[in-house]
């Protein structure tokens, strides 16, 4: 099996992988990073969103070896309960989380946007999360939360 070397949440990782295995499975099963979720495995829901070299992508559509030599950030690298990222704080405060299954994906899309555009307009925020589906919230509170995190 080929050897995959990548940086995950600032840590160098070396693994033997099946080249075609979706990166999301490597992250969840081999590295135990269970914050990245699987909703559809077809790029449709955004639950598996991670940053690949700083850009938001669907990790279900990435064959593992494609990440060779790349830097990856998952939700675990963004923040946790003790040390949350401002986006996580504000989305929660604004009521943008219900069951929470979609939330890591939305946070990653938001962080991907803020990397590129630190002071986004509402339209930009809406576009940035238009590849993420949520069954519970109705989206508007997630938008408010992301915008509020920038005001802080």
């Amino acid at each position: 099996m080929p050897t995959l070397k990548m940086i995950v949440n600032n840590e160098p990782i070396t693994l033997e992988v099946d080249a075609l295995r979706p990166l999301v499975d490597v992250l969840r099963e081999d590295l135990g990073l269970l914050g990245t979720k699987v909703g559809c495995r077809e790029g449709e829901c955004g639950a598996c969103t991670i940053l690949l070299d700083g850009k938001a992508v669907n990790s279900c559509l990435i064959p593992a070896m494609r990440a060779h030599g790349c830097s990856i950030v998952t939700i675990e690298g963004v923040g946790d309960v003790d040390n949350p990222h401002p986006v996580q704080v504000s989305i929660t405060e604004e009521g943008g989380v219900q069951c929470g299954y979609c939330t890591p994906g939305f946070v990653m899309s938001a962080v991907g946007l803020l990397n590129k555009s630190p002071n986004p307009t509402e339209a930009e925020v809406r576009e940035a999360i238009s590849g993420n589906l949520c069954r519970c919230t109705g989206y508007n509170r997630i938008v408010k939360g992301i915008l509020k995190s920038v005001e802080k």
């Binding site: 909703g39 449709e44 989380v97 219900q98 109705g138 508007n140 938008v143």
Partner: protein
């Protein structure tokens, strides 16, 4: 050409277990050494926020106790008392009242233990800012009370239960007290319809909901917005198709739940707080009710815009355009 329309619809929906099924919940509260109140009830949280609502009720009964003094134990029927199913829009109404009763039982217990220390009768004790006061303004702390309970060998653990009024099965004529509470809602939908492609844009949904007394406003608003969004899916995009018993729409690519662009940027929630006449909370069920008026309000708005009724859901561009063409064949 794009045409705008406005539609109204009203609905009522019963909540709590119906037709003679006893509807009960039990909540446990324990004051532990760390001076925090541990609240346990096996009431599943699907994201609707029952732990937050339960904690808020306990806090209010206990003199607006800060929420960081309340710890919700993870629901588990093996370790916490049963709150019953999360269904029938019942948890705030039934578990909420059980939490109210449990918190009052806790308050009575704490007053009784502290009254010994304060040399007064339990009914003269006031609990505020996490301390107990007698009429002369002397006070003891939670930690004093925890120590005293150990001295006298009393457990600072209580339960509270609530049973919603009994219902009955309907008779053969469909009559009887089958449901103990109904919520009511009226919605206004504003849409824009493209008369030549059948595309529908929902511009705004305003909701007016009677779900009794609202306990946790943000939670109620979140339920309304989420419910409206899900129902917009049923109304406009979600269609389960099958062929010879095989589902054709078996993925997120084919079974289309609303995306952010399918939801109006404004879904407003207004509450009409008509309290239910049983229990102490006055709260009624909300979760399912909030979906019901969406489809008829949107369909009425489409009618207002283009003068045709779409009679099967979802109202896809194809169905809307077909209805328009059927009405005006030479368009």
């Amino acid at each position: 050409m794009k045409k705008k329309g406005i539609g109204f619809a009203s609905a009522w929906q019963g909540s709590n277990l119906h037709f003679g099924h006893p509807d009960v919940s039990t909540v446990l509260i324990e004051l532990r050494e760390d001076q925090k109140f541990y609240v346990g009830v096996a009431a599943a949280d699907l994201g609707q926020g029952i732990p937050e609502t339960t904690a808020l009720i306990v806090s209010r009964v206990l003199g607006n106790l800060p929420l960081d003094k309340i710890v919700m134990i993870d629901p588990d029927t093996g370790a916490t008392p049963d709150g019953g199913a999360t269904g029938a829009s019942r948890q705030t109404s039934v578990t909420g009242n059980a939490a109210f009763n449990a918190a009052n039982n806790m308050l009575d217990l704490l007053k009784s233990v502290s009254s010994e220390l304060l040399n007064t009768s339990p009914s003269e004790v006031e609990f505020k800012s996490a301390a107990f006061f007698n009429q002369d303004g002397e006070n003891v702390t939670l930690s004093d009370v925890i120590d005293e309970a150990k001295n006298i060998g009393t457990s600072l653990s209580v339960i509270g239960s609530f049973k919603a009024p009994s219902t009955e099965d309907l008779d053969e004529k469909g009559q009887g007290y089958g449901v103990n509470q109904f919520g009511y809602a009226t919605y206004v939908a504003e849409v824009e319809v493209d008369t030549e492609t059948g595309e529908v844009d929902v511009l705004k949904i305003s909701t007016f909901v009677d779900a009794g007394r609202i306990i946790r406003k943000i939670g109620a608003e979140m339920q309304v917005e989420g419910g409206v969004t899900m129902a917009l899916g049923h109304t406009l995009t979600e269609e389960f198709k099958q062929e010879n018993g095989w589902p054709l729409t078996d993925s997120f690519t084919t079974y289309l739940i609303p995306s952010i662009y399918d939801v109006p940027p404004e879904i407003s929630a207004h509450f009409v707080e008509e309290e239910v006449p049983f229990g102490q909370l006055g709260a009624k069920g909300l979760a399912e009710l909030v979906l019901v008026p969406v489809a008829p309000a949107v369909i009425n708005a489409i009618y207002d815009a283009v003068g045709v009724y779409v009679t099967s859901l979802p109202a896809t561009p194809e169905r809307v355009l077909q209805a328009i063409k059927d009405q005006t064949p030479d368009l």
